[in-house]
């Protein structure tokens, strides 16, 4: 019977993915980019949809939620995993609603009136069985995958709208999205890029070498010089790890300082973030927000005697409040930070915010 083999195969895939996640986010910077993680998660979810045994939408959602909880627990800081799971859950809900024939509007709880009068959504337990549901869901997930593959290109296409010639652009650390963005603009325009190296991982060095190989005039500066050179910078373009529900960012450490310096000099701060980075998390959860890695990066063991008497911190992320951000550029266009909540309600269903 192909069933049990498929199942073991599936569980093997899931286990392999989980251990990859656990290893991958071990603080030397992600060994894989978020885009890759997103793609792999979605592919895995498609496989689960195809191969797991389920009879109704509710069952499928249960299975996906269970796997999703395990995946997010493996690497809590890798939020794209959770985001993709929520996207797939939303897809399932939509497909179910379409199969049932009910209009889309009934599912959206915009109106306060509906919230108070209908309790109708609670009764929706997704128990009905629809034969074409599986195929529809898999097709929708395939569409999602195609969308994911095109995100970087979609963002890069907008580069020429935001970069004029002879500009000085500042960025921090390494972001594949920003790299592609700048390289695309460099094909037609000449500008100068200043990269803050972002200690202790110094990913800015790699970014700078890649940009200079593309023919862009690049300068590497130490983190301490960010405010000193900011007065000559025209724009700050950064990537981020996550976009939070209030429009704030969870980005690599040092970004908050960069944002404050940009605000002081009234320099626009542009964030290039594809939609799969948008997460329904809020920054209040202090204990889960920050991620720390080995303090060896900051104060190496060669320092010897003083090590035992000193507290050393090495946070990986920084919170940037939405007031400091000017613009988000995503694969569906540009938005102000105040619009993020709306996008979020289109991508995710409110009941899925807690997996």
């Amino acid at each position: 019977m192909p069933g049990p083999d498929k199942e073991t195969d599936l569980t093997e895939r899931v286990e392999a993915f989980l251990s990859d996640l656990k290893r991958g986010g071990s603080g030397a910077g992600p060994l894989r980019g978020s885009a890759e993680t997103a793609r792999e998660t979605t592919a895995l979810l498609r496989k689960i949809t195809a191969q797991a045994r389920w009879s109704s939408a509710g069952d499928l959602m249960e299975i996906i939620r269970k796997e999703g909880r395990r995946m997010t627990a493996a690497q809590p800081s890798e939020t794209t995993v959770g985001n993709m799971i929520r996207r797939v859950l939303k897809i399932i809900r939509e497909e179910y609603a379409r199969s049932r024939g009910s209009s889309e509007e009934a599912d959206q709880q915009e109106s306060l009136h509906k919230l108070l009068t209908s309790g109708g959504l609670c009764e929706e337990n997704f128990r009905q069985h629809f034969a074409p549901l599986k195929a529809n869901v898999i097709e929708a997930i395939n569409e999602l995958l195609t969308e994911l593959e095109g995100t970087t290109d979609n963002i890069s296409m907008q580069a020429l709208e935001h970069i004029h010639s002879n500009e000085v652009i500042m960025t921090i650390g390494r972001s594949r999205t920003v790299e592609a963005f700048l390289r695309d603009a460099a094909r037609k325009r000449k500008f100068h890029v200043i990269v803050a190296e972002c200690a202790p991982f110094c990913q800015g060095h790699e970014m700078a070498t890649n940009l200079s190989k593309a023919g862009i005039e690049t300068t590497v500066i130490a983190d301490a010089a960010i405010f000193a050179v900011m007065s000559r910078v025209n724009k700050v373009i950064i990537g981020t790890q996550t976009v939070l529900a209030n429009g704030g960012l969870r980005a690599v450490n040092g970004t908050h300082t960069l944002a404050l310096a940009a605000k002081h000099h009234s320099t626009p701060l542009i964030v290039c973030a594809p939609m799969f980075k948008l997460s329904p998390q809020f920054p209040n959860e202090e204990d889960t927000f920050h991620k720390f890695v080995s303090p060896h990066e900051v104060l190496p063991f060669t320092e010897g005697e003083i090590l035992s008497k000193v507290n050393v911190h090495c946070p990986v992320f920084d919170y940037v409040p939405p007031e400091l951000i000017t613009l988000f550029i995503s694969n569906i266009g540009g938005h102000a930070p105040s619009y993020i909540y709306r996008l979020m309600s289109e991508l995710y269903h409110p009941e899925d915010h807690e997996l």
Binding site: V220, D223, A225, T257
Partner: protein, 549 residues
């Protein structure tokens, strides 16, 4: 504006002098002044042209006395201001003490040669104002004696206050000007000091600054034994360029100790005066040290002091006595300005540290470390967060010193400062120099810490001795800065060095800034040995110091 005011005051001085010489003036005098004023403009223009030619010649000779003499001639004839004399104002700079006698007042009024055509217009305006002033003064003098004398004393005081100190631009921020470089090369050749070559690709924003490599110290180009430069100075220069002696106070103290050694080993050659010869001896040493590493503001002030002391030695003083006196002066300077000042500052700062405080410091400032150790001795309970930055990583040195004393410390890099700031109650920063417009020049990254502290509403206190106060003004970190070896930014992680071949990449540049300026709105308080002052009171302190001297 300053120039026209200066002209105005100068004209007033001359005219009041006129009154002194000629007694109570009658209308005849006024008319004479007026007519002279009109004539002068033409005369002045002619003289301007003459002066331009003379200056071109004198630039090569660099003979101050020639210009001064010609200037004095013109001054003797005419009233209003003499044409621009950049060299004469340097003499004014060297003797900032005492109220300059009214006759020599015209000397310092010297903008750069570029201002000449504009100046003639200003001169015309000054003539008009001088005529008005003459009329006013004549009315005043009719009241009685106090009039002209009051005018004289008032104008004396006025000229003293508004003495325009127009400086020559220092060479080390004009690297992009080939004329300046040629001049420097000639000067160094004369002094037999090797010229240090710039290294690596310079970022275009900083093409006006030098960028040296640590691997090529100047001493490699010196012949051994070097007869021109005292060995103590050679050693000092090497220590500076390799970063062995770093930090504003350390560099100044090391410099003064080296000067003491030089003075001890000095013998006056026959037919020479100690006061003049020793100053000339010191000039190549200073050029050499400048080549090794650009002088800091505190070192500049120390050198000015030493030169002043040397030139104030009376000529009848015997050599031994003079040397003893000089050594004593230098020791007093170190004691007063650095050591005792640190004690005074520590006393004031300890009032600002309360029990349970969490204090954030940046990098390694000897003064701030001293303050914290003193506070610990006075049994204050606090803990310290040391913020550090690549590539210098000076914070580790501060960390070692503090941990040795038993202070509980936390250590982070500057990128984590917005994570750690919510815990902090005060920020103590050291300074390299305090500029006359209230900006604080300090290690790069200080302004960033002040910015983030301001955003989190944490008070920022800067500790600085008064000998680091400097008359320069600066608004950004570009115009006058120091570029360190760009190779310091290279780092090897996981066995992989990303930037190893950065020189081969044509569009890649590394920037290693040393200093930055913090605007005064980020700084809440400056603690000096004269008391706790706001950032904007720096020019007041400078003025008080100048009057004292």
């Amino acid at each position: 504006m300053c120039n026209s005011c200066a002209f105005y005051h100068f004209a007033a001085v001359f005219l009041s002098l006129n009154h002194l010489l000629h007694g109570y003036e009658k209308k005849g005098d006024i008319e004479r002044a007026k007519s002279e004023g009109k004539e002068l403009t033409k005369e002045e223009k002619q003289r301007l042209r003459k002066e331009k030619k003379q200056q071109k010649k004198s630039k090569e000779k660099k003979d101050d006395k020639v210009i001064q003499e010609s200037g004095k001639e013109t001054r003797g004839d005419s009233s209003a201001a003499s044409p621009p004399q950049p060299s004469s104002q340097s003499t004014a700079q060297k003797a900032p003490s005492a109220v300059p006698p009214p006759v020599s007042v015209p000397a310092p009024e010297a903008p750069t040669p570029a201002d000449k055509p504009a100046k003639s217009k200003a001169e015309l305006k000054a003539e008009r104002r001088a005529r008005q002033e003459a009329e006013r003064a004549s009315k005043q003098s009719k009241k009685g004696d106090p009039g002209p004398q009051g005018a004289v004393s008032k104008s004396k005081a006025a000229t003293n206050e508004l003495q325009p100190v127009v400086k020559r631009l220092p060479e080390h921020i004009q690297v992009d000007n080939p004329d300046v470089l040629k001049k420097l090369a000639k000067k160094l050749e004369r002094q037999q000091i090797p010229l240090r070559l710039d290294y690596g690709y310079k970022v275009s924003l900083f093409s006006h600054l030098h960028q040296y490599s640590r691997k090529a110290p100047l001493t490699q180009q010196l012949s051994i034994p070097s007869t021109v430069i005292h060995p103590a100075i050679v050693r000092l220069g090497l220590q500076y360029s390799q970063g062995i002696v770093a930090g504003s106070n350390a560099r100044s103290v090391a410099l003064l100790h080296a000067f003491k050694q030089v003075i001890r080993d000095y013998t006056t050659p026959p037919n020479e005066e100690l006061s003049r010869d020793l100053v000339n001896r010191l000039k190549p040493y200073i050029s050499f040290l400048n080549q090794c590493r650009p002088l800091s503001a505190s070192m500049g002030n120390a050198i000015k002091y030493v030169k002043k002391e040397i030139s104030n030695i009376p000529s009848q003083c015997k050599e031994e006595e003079a040397k003893h006196k000089l050594l004593k002066c230098i020791e007093c300077y170190i004691k007063d300005k650095i050591i005792l000042a640190a004690t005074a500052i520590a006393e004031s700062s300890i009032e600002k540290i309360s029990d349970g405080d969490v204090i954030l410091i940046y990098g390694c400032s000897s003064l701030v470390n001293h303050i914290l150790c003193e506070a610990l001795e006075k049994n204050r309970k606090f803990r310290v967060i040391v913020v550090d930055s690549r590539p210098r990583l000076e914070g580790r040195e501060a960390l070692r010193r503090l941990v040795q004393r038993g202070i509980s410390c936390t250590y982070v890099l500057i990128s984590a400062v917005s994570y750690i700031l919510p815990e902090v109650s005060k920020v103590f920063l050291g300074a390299h120099a305090l500029l006359a417009n209230g900006y604080v020049m300090s290690r790069v990254g200080t302004s960033q810490i002040a910015l983030v502290a301001k955003a989190f509403n944490v008070p920022v206190l800067v500790c600085c001795e008064t000998y680091k106060f400097c008359e320069r003004v600066q608004t950004d970190s570009f115009v006058s800065n120091e570029l360190d070896d760009p190779d310091d930014l290279i780092v090897t992680r996981n066995g992989h060095t990303q930037l190893e071949n950065w020189q081969q990449e044509p569009s890649l540049g590394l920037l290693n800034l040393v200093y930055d300026v913090t605007p005064p709105d980020f700084v809440d308080l400056v603690i000096t040995e004269l008391g706790m002052i706001p950032c904007t009171s720096v020019p007041v302190v400078l003025r008080v110091k100048n009057v004292d001297q």
